[in-house]
Amino acid sequence: MTFIYLLALLSPLFVILLGFKQRFTLLWWYAIAGLIIDNLGHFLKSAKIEHHWAGNIFLLAECILVSFYYRKIIFRNQIIFWIVVLSTTLFFITHTIYYSMRDMNMQAASLLYLIYMGFGIAGFYKLLHQPEIIYLGKSSFFIINAAFFIYASANFLLYLFGTYLRKNDFEFLVSIWGSFFMTINILHYFVIGIGLSKTKTK
């Protein structure tokens, strides 16, 4: 186990600890889900038990939690929100059941990351059109939105061609997964933790 892999497994702790004042909020549960599922996957892998389905569970949980995080921020019409959430969730579940039960459903995940990129752009748009003066360095939403946006942008193409790389260039996939993806994962949890720590407690 490399240092970066270990750090990636524990990186949700950044959010859990830095954002402790905001515990029991959506992003905090997102980090809890990430910590549990990533470590479960690692445990199953070590025990040589089929573990790729854990990735699918995480992707589904991430989809629901991230969508609900953006719900009140970018969706004025709640009907549109429910259409987006339900359709993406249903698409992911059916696509996974049909194509990729035992392996991580990277193709459907790439669509989810494309949607998160859309959320990110919509989030930035909302920020720029706020009537009050917002200093971005102090805005927890800007920091968290930037983290998700970079995370989704970095993962989109990787997941889109993940299945192809698994079949045709597995070594490259392993190396980019172990370095690039892990680094992005660690950074995204770290930045979310910082953003959560700046959130004002109601």
Binding site: L128, Y135, F156
Partner: protein, 260 residues
Amino acid sequence: MSLTSLIIIGITVILLLAFSVIGFVVLYQRRVIRHQLELKTLNEQKQLALLEASLQSEEEERRRIASELHDDVGASLSSIRLFLHKADEQSGSSAIIQQSKDLIDDTIKKVRDISHKLQPATLQMLGLYSSLHALAEIYNRADGIKMSVQADNSLTRLAPNTELHIYRIIQELINNIIKHSGGKKVSLAVFQSGDKMQFSLVHDGTGIAKEDYNVFLTKKGAIGLKNIENRLKFIHAAIEFEKRNPTEFNTTIIVPLHEK
């Protein structure tokens, strides 16, 4: 070029685009903030200009009324006094004429006091500190309070406009003390503290705290307090309220020193 290389290039391009989007958001927001701050400054300047015009207009009206009181009403009353004096000489001493003379004398004093309160003649000629002494004399003659002033003419003079506003603020505060506090003794001390001039008004009545002052400012009416607040804003001064003990309440006006 293999698909693997294309994927690497693609990820790099998308990441660069993502950072560009974030960079654009940051730069755009900075521009928006700069613009909003400029608008806020312009708005404040405009409000200050309107406030200045309003206060100037008020002062001109006071000057006009004071002038008319002194020149017209005062002159007429003095003439009536002269006629009464002549009637007294011609017809001999009469109780009614004597009472009328006393009443006219009293009325002339009151009109003079009102005229001086409206437009203190000493303010421009002799400055704020002498005017405050003169104001104390007016209040001591009537109004049912005893006022003392500790203000040396050797203290730094303020700008003429600032001195006028401070005079008006003190006048308004004393009027409020007479009307609402039930206080009988008022003392005004003026002293310099660093780069600020402080006017400390102590009375033995019931005063208000800063929180009450802020509440009254937002309520309907309280025109006097709003006038004080406007004048304070105009001269960049602050006001503080302090209850020293059950029989001593202090209101302090803190004015930054400007060049005369």
